[in-house]
C-alpha cells in the first residue's frame, strides 16, 4: 500500500472513530411538551414559561451537582397524533429521562400509554386525569387540577363567600367540565346550597344567551368551570344580564391578566373570586420573591401570573426528583424516585406535593381568592383547605 493511501485510510479511521463514539451526555435531558400554538395555547404557554424560568434559574446556579438541565421543548398544538410522535421523539431521539407539562386531558391517555411502553415518566401540570390517582397507573404523575377534585374544593370553599341560596354552575360541554360540575353540585348541596347548571358548546359564538340563561335561574352565586376565553366572554355577559353577585372562577389556567380584562369589559371588578391550587405571584413569601427575581434576571416578557407559579412549581418537582435520582439518572430510575417524593413548595401551594408508589397525585390544597380591582391582584379570602382524592362517589 503506498504512503498516500495509508494516509487516507488512517484519516478515515480517525474520522469514523470520532463520529461513531457515543457523546458523553453529562447534563440531564428533560422534555417539556404542551400546546404552544393551538386553541388553548394562552392557557398552557404560561405553564411552560414558568417551568422554563425555573430551569434557567437552576442552571444559572450551576444546575444539579454541577450538571445542567437541557430542556427539550415541543409543541403538540393540541393535536393527538402530533403529541404521540413528539413523545417518541423526546424519548427515543432526545433521550429525555422525563417529560413534563403535557396539554389537554383528552391527550393524556394515549400519550401515557406510549410513555408506559417507552418506560419514561410524565408529570403533567394544569390538566390532570385519573391515571395519577390511587391506584395510580405507572409512569403517570400530576401536579395539575383534576376536575372532580377542583369541583369538590370549590364546593367546600363556597360558604366562605358569605352568601346563601342557589349556586348555578356553568361549563363547556366536555367530559372534564361535566365531571367538575357533578362534583361541585354534590359538595355545595352537602353544605345546604341549591344547585342548577348551564352547559354550552365549546365553540360558542356569543355568550350572552348562556349568561342570560344562567341569570334567569336567580342564582346567589355563579361558578364557571372553563378557561380564559370563556371567562372573558361570560363575565361581562353575566353582568349585562343582571347578575351582580359573586362569580367564582375555577382556575383552569385563567391568568390575572384575563381577570383584569374581563373586569374591564364588565365595567366592574367587584365580586369576582378565584379558587386555585397555586398562590398568586403577589404573595409576600420568599418563594414568590425567588420567582420575581428569576423573571427579572431572565427577562420574562409576560406579566407574572398564578399560572406561571404553577409552571415554576412543576420545575421544583422536577428539580427535587432529579436531585434525588442522582448522577446517572435514567428514565426508569426517575420514575422510581417520583414514586417516593415529597416537595416543599415554600408556600406556593398550601402544603407539600407528595407522590407515593400508589398515588401519583397526592393531597392537593386549594384556596379562595378575591379579585382586587384597585390593586389588580388576588387577595386571599380563606385559608388553604386540603383534599385527599375524590370524596363523592366515583369518577
Amino acid at each position: 500500500m503506498n504512503f498516500e493511501l495509508k494516509r487516507k485510510a488512517v484519516t478515515a479511521g480517525i474520522v469514523m472513530g470520532v463520529m461513531l463514539s457515543s457523546p458523553v451526555r453529562a447534563d440531564y435531558q428533560i422534555g417539556f411538551m404542551t400546546d404552544l400554538s393551538g386553541a388553548l395555547s394562552d392557557a398552557y404557554t404560561p405553564i411552560w414559561e414558568g417551568f422554563d424560568l425555573y430551569v434557567k434559574a437552576l442552571n444559572a446556579k450551576g444546575g444539579i451537582d454541577g450538571e445542567k438541565i437541557v430542556l427539550h421543548t415541543e409543541d403538540d398544538g393540541l393535536n393527538l397524533q402530533k403529541a404521540i410522535s413528539l413523545t417518541k421523539k423526546l424519548a427515543l431521539q432526545q433521550k429525555v429521562i422525563g417529560i413534563f407539562g403535557l396539554s389537554v386531558s383528552s391527550i393524556h391517555g394515549p400519550v401515557f400509554e406510549e410513555l408506559r411502553r417507552l418506560k419514561v415518566p410524565a408529570v403533567t401540570a394544569f390538566s390532570a386525569t385519573s391515571d395519577s390517582l390511587a391506584p395510580a397507573k405507572p409512569f403517570s404523575f400530576s401536579t395539575g387540577s383534576l376536575f372532580q377534585i377542583a369541583g369538590e374544593a370549590i364546593g367546600e370553599l363556597t360558604p366562605k363567600l358569605g352568601v346563601k341560596g342557589k349556586v348555578v354552575g356553568m361549563t363547556i360541554d366536555t367530559v372534564g367540565g361535566r365531571a367538575a360540575l357533578r362534583h361541585n353540585k354534590l359538595a355545595v348541596e352537602r353544605v345546604g346550597y341549591g344547585w342548577d347548571e348551564v352547559a354550552f358548546p365549546i365553540q360558542s359564538v356569543d355568550f350572552t344567551p348562556f349568561a342570560q340563561a344562567a341569570a334567569a335561574k336567580n342564582p346567589a352565586i355563579v361558578v364557571g368551570h372553563y378557561g380564559t376565553a370563556q371567562n372573558l366572554g361570560i363575565i361581562p355577559a353575566l353582568r349585562r344580564s343582571g347578575f351582580a353577585g359573586p362569580y367564582l372562577i375555577a382556575n383552569y389556567g385563567v391568568t390575572e391578566t384575563a381577570i383584569e380584562g374581563a373586569a374591564k369589559a364588565a365595567g366592574s371588578g367587584e365580586n369576582i373570586y378565584v379558587v386555585s391550587r397555586y398562590a398568586p405571584p403577589q404573595e409576600n413569601i420568599p418563594a414568590v420573591e425567588q420567582i420575581r427575581a428569576a423573571a427579572k434576571a431572565h427577562n420574562l416578557k409576560s406579566s407574572l401570573t398564578q399560572v406561571h407559579v404553577e409552571g415554576w412549581v412543576l420545575g421544583m418537582v422536577m428539580h427535587a426528583a432529579v436531585t434525588k435520582c442522582g448522577k446517572g439518572c435514567t428514565a426508569e430510575k426517575l420514575n422510581e424516585t417520583l414514586e417516593n417524593l415529597n416537595v416543599n413548595t415554600g408556600g406556593l401551594t398550601g402544603g407539600p406535593i407528595v407522590f407515593t408508589k400508589d398515588n401519583h397525585y397526592g393531597a392537593s390544597f386549594w384556596r379562595l381568592y378575591k379579585w382586587n380591582n384597585a390593586s389588580r391582584k388576588l387577595d386571599p379570602v380563606s385559608e388553604w383547605i386540603r383534599r385527599d382524592g375524590i370524596e363523592f362517589g366515583s369518577l
Binding site: 344567551p209 343582571g242 364588565a266
Partner: protein
C-alpha cells in the same frame, strides 16, 4: 321579553354584517368564502393591537383596520383568486380554506393565540331591563352599525357607477367585460368590501365577547345566515341572520344550550331541502361537486 328581543336583534346585526360580506363576495366573484370567520377575527386582533394601541383611538383603530382590509382584500384577489378564475368552481372554495388556515396561523404567530377583549368603553347602561340587566350603548352601536352598513351598501350598489358596474358583473361578467367594465377591478372591490364587512363584524364581536382562536366559529354563523337567506341576496342576508339568531337564542333559552350550535344547521338543512338557493336567493342550476 324585551331583553330577549333586543339580544336577538344584536346577534342578528353581527350575523347580518358577516353574511352581507359573504353575499357581496359571492355575487361579485361567485366564490364562497369559507375563511370569513378567520379573517373577521384576525382583523379584530389587528384593531385591538395595531389599531387601538398604536393610534390610541377607536376611529384611528378602525382606519388602520380598513387599510389592512383593503390590502388583504386586494392581495387575496390579485395574488391568488385572479389566477383561479378559469378553474372549476370548487378550486376557489378550497383556496379559501387555505386562507382560513393562514389566518389562524397568523393569529398564533402574532398574538400567541391569546384571548383578547376589545374595550370600546361602551358597555354601560343605555336602557335598564326590569330583570336587572341592561341594553348597553355597545348593543345600540352594534345595531346602528349594521343598519348603516346595509344602507351604505344599498346606496353604493344602486346609485354609484362602481355599484352599477358591480351589479353588471354579478349578472353577466362576460357581457359586462365586453361593455367596457374592468371585471378584475370589480372582483377586487368585492373582496375588499367583504373584508371591510368582516373587520366590522370582528371588532363588534370582540367588543361584546372575546377574540380567540375558538372565536373563528363566528364565520359559521355568518355562512349559515347567508346560505339560509340566499347567497346572492343582501335582503336574504338580513333575513337569514334574523332566522339563525332567533333559532340559536330560542334553543338556548327554551330547549338546551348544548344544542345551540347544532339547531341552526337543522334550520339550514330544512331550508336547503325546500329552497336550495336560499329563501331570497336566485334559483340557479345546482352543480354537483
Amino acid at each position: 321579553m324585551m331583553q330577549s328581543i333586543l339580544t336577538i336583534v344584536v346577534l342578528t346585526s353581527i350575523y347580518a354584517i358577516l353574511a352581507g360580506g359573504i353575499v357581496v363576495l359571492y355575487r361579485g366573484t361567485r366564490v364562497l368564502n369559507l375563511a370569513h370567520g378567520e379573517l373577521a377575527i384576525l382583523l379584530g386582533y389587528l384593531f385591538a393591537t395595531a389599531g387601538m394601541q398604536v393610534t390610541g383611538s377607536i376611529l384611528g383603530g378602525m382606519a388602520v383596520v380598513m387599510v389592512f382590509s383593503a390590502i388583504f382584500g386586494a392581495g387575496i384577489y390579485w395574488l391568488l383568486m385572479r389566477h383561479l378564475i378559469a378553474q372549476p368552481f370548487y378550486v376557489a372554495i378550497l383556496a379559501t380554506i387555505g386562507i382560513a388556515i393562514l389566518a389562524k396561523a397568523s393569529i398564533v404567530l402574532l398574538w400567541g393565540g391569546r384571548a383578547v377583549n376589545i374595550e370600546l368603553g361602551a358597555n354601560t347602561v343605555l336602557y335598564p331591563y326590569s330583570t336587572g340587566g341592561w341594553f348597553s350603548y355597545l348593543d345600540a352601536i352594534t345595531i346602528a352599525t349594521a343598519v348603516i352598513f346595509f344602507i351604505l351598501l344599498y346606496y353604493a350598489l344602486t346609485s354609484t357607477r362602481l355599484g352599477i358596474q358591480f351589479r353588471a358583473v354579478a349578472e353577466n361578467p362576460l357581457l359586462a367585460s365586453q361593455r367596457g367594465v374592468n371585471v378584475n377591478t370589480i372582483m377586487m372591490v368585492a373582496w375588499i368590501v367583504a373584508l371591510f364587512a368582516a373587520s366590522i363584524a370582528g371588532v363588534l364581536y370582540g367588543s361584546r365577547s372575546v377574540l380567540s382562536l375558538q372565536a373563528v366559529v363566528i364565520g359559521i354563523g355568518g355562512l349559515t345566515a347567508a346560505l339560509v337567506g340566499g347567497l346572492d341576496s343582501l335582503r336574504g342576508a338580513i333575513a337569514g341572520a334574523l332566522l339563525v339568531a332567533t333559532v340559536e337564542y330560542a334553543t338556548v333559552r327554551l330547549i338546551d344550550p348544548i344544542l345551540s350550535q347544532a339547531i341552526p344547521f337543522v334550520l339550514l338543512l330544512t331550508v336547503m331541502m325546500w329552497r336550495p338557493w336560499g329563501i331570497f336567493g336566485t334559483r340557479e342550476e345546482i352543480q354537483r361537486v
